[in-house]
């Protein structure tokens, strides 16, 4: 499937589901989360643990066990290589440099809720969608950049905590793994994968 079609499907399928009848105790819920990520591949480019992650969560409960929706996420990854001399056949270059990756992801996500009628709700889910990454290397005042689209697959598992049945908000902690097909030949970069933890605030039974 082409990336644009996947993107459109990711955008519109959850919206279409909005009108579905639901007997889920959580109803339709939205959330925003702080994501912390660790790159698991291409560590020579960016390897630092990142606390610069943000995610918007949208779900529609289909029944007591399942909810479906979408996630929109953003993260910044950084790496720094200290000053060093690189030698070639006809010369050398001495510099330090900073690598940055800004990644954006949009997934169609389904969650299985293990006990949606309780305060503590463990869940596991899978998101499939598209990702875009903007790669940049900064050396002195100069920079080099490249951008790439790819497929994003995100398995995740966590727990939601609902603050009482009468309260329409809760929090969620989840761990996830992001597999992407993002590549950059300019930076010798392939399949940018990461793992992360997200802390979310959720607003339940949104009208």
């Amino acid at each position: 499937m082409k990336m644009k079609q996947l993107l459109l499907l990711t955008l519109f399928l959850p919206v279409a589901w909005c009108h579905a009848q639901s007997d889920s105790p959580l109803g339709r819920y939205i959330g925003v989360s702080w994501n912390m990520n660790k790159p698991l591949s291409n560590g020579a480019f960016v390897s630092d643990f990142s606390t610069q992650g943000l995610q918007f969560i949208y779900r529609q409960g289909i029944n007591e066990q399942f909810s479906i929706g979408g996630d929109l996420n953003y993260a910044v990854y950084k790496g720094y290589t200290p000053r060093k001399t690189y030698y070639g056949d006809s010369g050398a270059l001495t510099t330090d440099y900073f690598n940055y990756v800004q990644s954006f992801g949009l997934t169609l996500t389904g969650d299985y809720l293990f006990s949606s009628d309780k305060k503590l709700i463990p869940f596991a889910g899978l998101g499939i969608g598209a990702a875009f990454a903007d790669f940049k290397t900064y050396y002195n005042i100069y920079s080099k950049t490249d951008g790439s689209w790819g497929l994003l697959i995100r398995p995740q598992a966590g727990v939601m905590y609902r603050f009482g049945r009468s309260n329409n908000w809760g929090i969620s902690v989840a761990a996830y793994f992001d597999y992407t097909t993002i590549k950059s030949s300019d930076f010798d970069f392939a399949n940018f994968n990461s793992a992360g933890i997200r802390l979310a605030i959720l607003f339940l039974n949104v009208e």
């Binding site: 918007f56 270059l93 001495t94 900064y138 005042i141 930076f187």
Partner: protein, 216 residues
């Protein structure tokens, strides 16, 4: 519901504030040291040269906004030429006058508002091209030679940048009254450097340090 919306709005705003900043490094961190790039014709036997010529206390200036501004004098030019002379003397070359048939000419000039550094690739950070065939832009005719071999750099305008360019020109083996630049070095950026004088001196020394083939 109104409370939830307000809470949601503030949550989003707070997260944006926490995560949205710092999508690039601080400029002060980027320019702490200068980039130093050197190129050479790798068939050159630098031990075969004994003497060099270089005007003291004056360096060239290539500035696209004022093409008539071709010379830099003063403390910066003195620093550059003194550091170069000291380094060349340490290597074992002897400075002579330009009329005393020097083996090498040592050019130094500042290129302003042009991009001179090559694009770098991550997998092979140093890209490199086969030696410096840069024409004698530095006050043409100073050594009596033209020699336009093509323009391997100055590929694009780069506003508010300045790079120190050094060249070793082979005057010993000229052919058809043309000379070959056997080594060049770029150091920059000069305009944004936190310590232009100190970092220039370091960069000149680094240029020779990463060129161990320049020896007697």
């Amino acid at each position: 519901m109104r409370t939830s919306r307000i809470t949601f709005f503030w949550s989003v705003l707070t997260l944006f504030a926490a995560t949205g900043c710092s999508t690039q490094p601080e400029m002060v961190d980027r320019v702490r040291d200068m980039i130093v790039q050197t190129n050479y014709v790798n068939t050159t036997n630098f031990a075969s040269y004994a003497t060099y010529a270089m005007p003291m206390d004056t360096i060239g200036h290539v500035f696209n906004q004022d093409p008539n501004d071709t010379l830099i004098v003063g403390s910066y030019a003195k620093l550059v030429t003194a550091t170069l002379k000291s380094t060349m003397d340490q290597i074992g070359y002897t400075q002579v006058g330009k009329k005393q048939s020097p083996d090498l000419a040592l050019n130094a000039y500042v290129v302003e508002d042009y991009s001179v550094f090559q694009s770098v690739g991550y997998s092979n950070f140093y890209g490199g091209y086969g030696g410096g065939y840069y024409p004698g832009y530095y006050y043409p005719g100073y050594y009596g030679y033209g020699g336009y071999y093509g323009y391997p750099f100055y590929q694009s305008y780069s506003v508010n940048t300045a790079t120190l360019v050094l060249e070793l020109v082979d005057l010993k083996n000229k052919s058809n009254n043309k000379v070959l630049i056997v080594w060049n070095a770029y150091a920059g950026d000069l305009l944004t450097s936190v310590d232009t004088f100190g970092k220039t001196s370091e960069a000149i020394q680094q240029a020779f340090k990463q060129s161990p083939y320049i020896k007697k």
